[in-house]
Amino acid sequence: MAYRTHLDDLWEQQIRPDGRTPHELRNITCQMGIFHPQASGSASFNIGNTKVMAAVYGPHEVRSSQKKHHNPDKMIINCEYSSATFSSNERKSSTKADRKSMEISSNLRSVMEHIIIPDIFPGSQIDVYVELLQDDGGSYSACINAATLALVDAGIPIRDYAVAITATMSHSVCMVDINAQERGQCAELTIGVLAQSNEIIVLELANLLQNFYLKDVLDEGIKGCAAIYKILEEAVRQKFNKMEQSLV
């Protein structure tokens, strides 16, 4: 037996539990160079209450432990994802070696390998460290955005921005940017695209989604990605305008 709540009344006006309309993103702030000057590049990306930091070290010489297996014509990209023990509702004891983090690390690496121009620094290594500080839905997509910004900040040549957002279908309405409260009730599809070519590069699904709806959800997600791309580009332009002015 389901009871009617004030959220149902809101939903009739197509207003989501946190007061947004279906196609509205949460408040986004991003900042570059937060670990300046230790890291070559760094960035933070906050969307609503989800907070992610990323740092890029390199390109530098390949660590001796990996040198043995390393093809000297190739470049090593190393990604490490970890989440803070206090990032979600349940306090976690180990946060780096569990399967979930390892999966995210390896997925992030495959995304980074696609956007960084290949073998431009042969025989060297780039490290990307991503830390999730607070998880309120869409953490994986925030990680991708933060890592992209950090790569730009480090001045590593990339082909294209990888931007990502979550989307879903609920009550036959497409919604973008799912928060943790909504995630409990509907599917969460993380969509990442290459911003210029609009090719899909990341797809992760949590919960069940009718196959029939996939096209609509993808369209919604790609629209959301375009909005994120604008914000990221704006942040990059601001930062480099400032640098230019300080040089003059």
Partner: protein, 331 residues
Amino acid sequence: MKPKTIANCTRSLVKGGAKNGIRLGARGIHEFRTAKISFGNSVGSCEAVLLPGTRVFAQASAAIGEPSDSRPGEGAFTISVWVSPAATGEMVGSSEKPSAIARTLERMFKENRAVDLESLCIKFGELAWILRVDVHVIEMNGCLQDTAALAVLGALLTFQRPQAEIDVNTDELVVLPLAECTPVELHLFHLPAVMSFALCDEILLAEPCQEEEDILPGKLLVGINDSKELCHLHLTHPIEQELLLEATKLAQAQCLDRLNMLKGLVEEVKTQREVPIYKRPQGPRATGTVLSLSALETSSRNRSEKKPSIKYLSPLITASDINMLEELCIL
């Protein structure tokens, strides 16, 4: 371990062939592999083969233990994956392969709640069945996730556990042996299956073999359940939206076919087993294992050791038994 070296001519053969719609092994580019599923004598064992040459074995088992603090009203479910070094010719114990398979399976069966864990609860917060599926990759020729998911599903569908309950009067745990109760099957909310594709410049290759997986740059996994819901998506290479939608359409048709085949086979196995509906006689209980809660730890260990096969326990003589007896007499 260094990745296997592949000859340039093999590379160009596979890539050039894919562009012209020709594949190694003479399959069409959208043609899926043939699946073969067989079940073992013990409950909850299943072997799935995707021809040519990928073989995965899964065994489901259950023991009584304590539920987790965060979910006191549910049983637990763990999946562990072991890739045999004989299948790959390299040490894979700690590499990414088994953990990638395990993550896919976890996402499909655990996080999407395919198994009804609430039905595994015996006493809230104290006792629950701990369900476990061990997946062994015996032969490897691409499409590991597809085969493993099929094997796990087969194992879960044919698994049976004995009845366990708390005696209301004495507050003791009573585990009835399989021979004198109707065994309980698992309840699954939905049946997921996964299909993989290799991607090569706007071309989809359904269920690639190992060589194709190594050579072609991208991989796409699409998991769909029996009610046409997507339950897993994974992508490692940029892809156009239309191609993705085409892939999910292909996967949906194939998943339904494969699940129907599996359901048919499972029904066959169940009718072969001829499990009797057991009715307990009136009066005080004469048999059954009565355990006090403190004795639980040792007893659960013993039980898992001497878990008997269903054939041994079946009190009714099946047709196959009679055939066997006849053969023995002739000999």
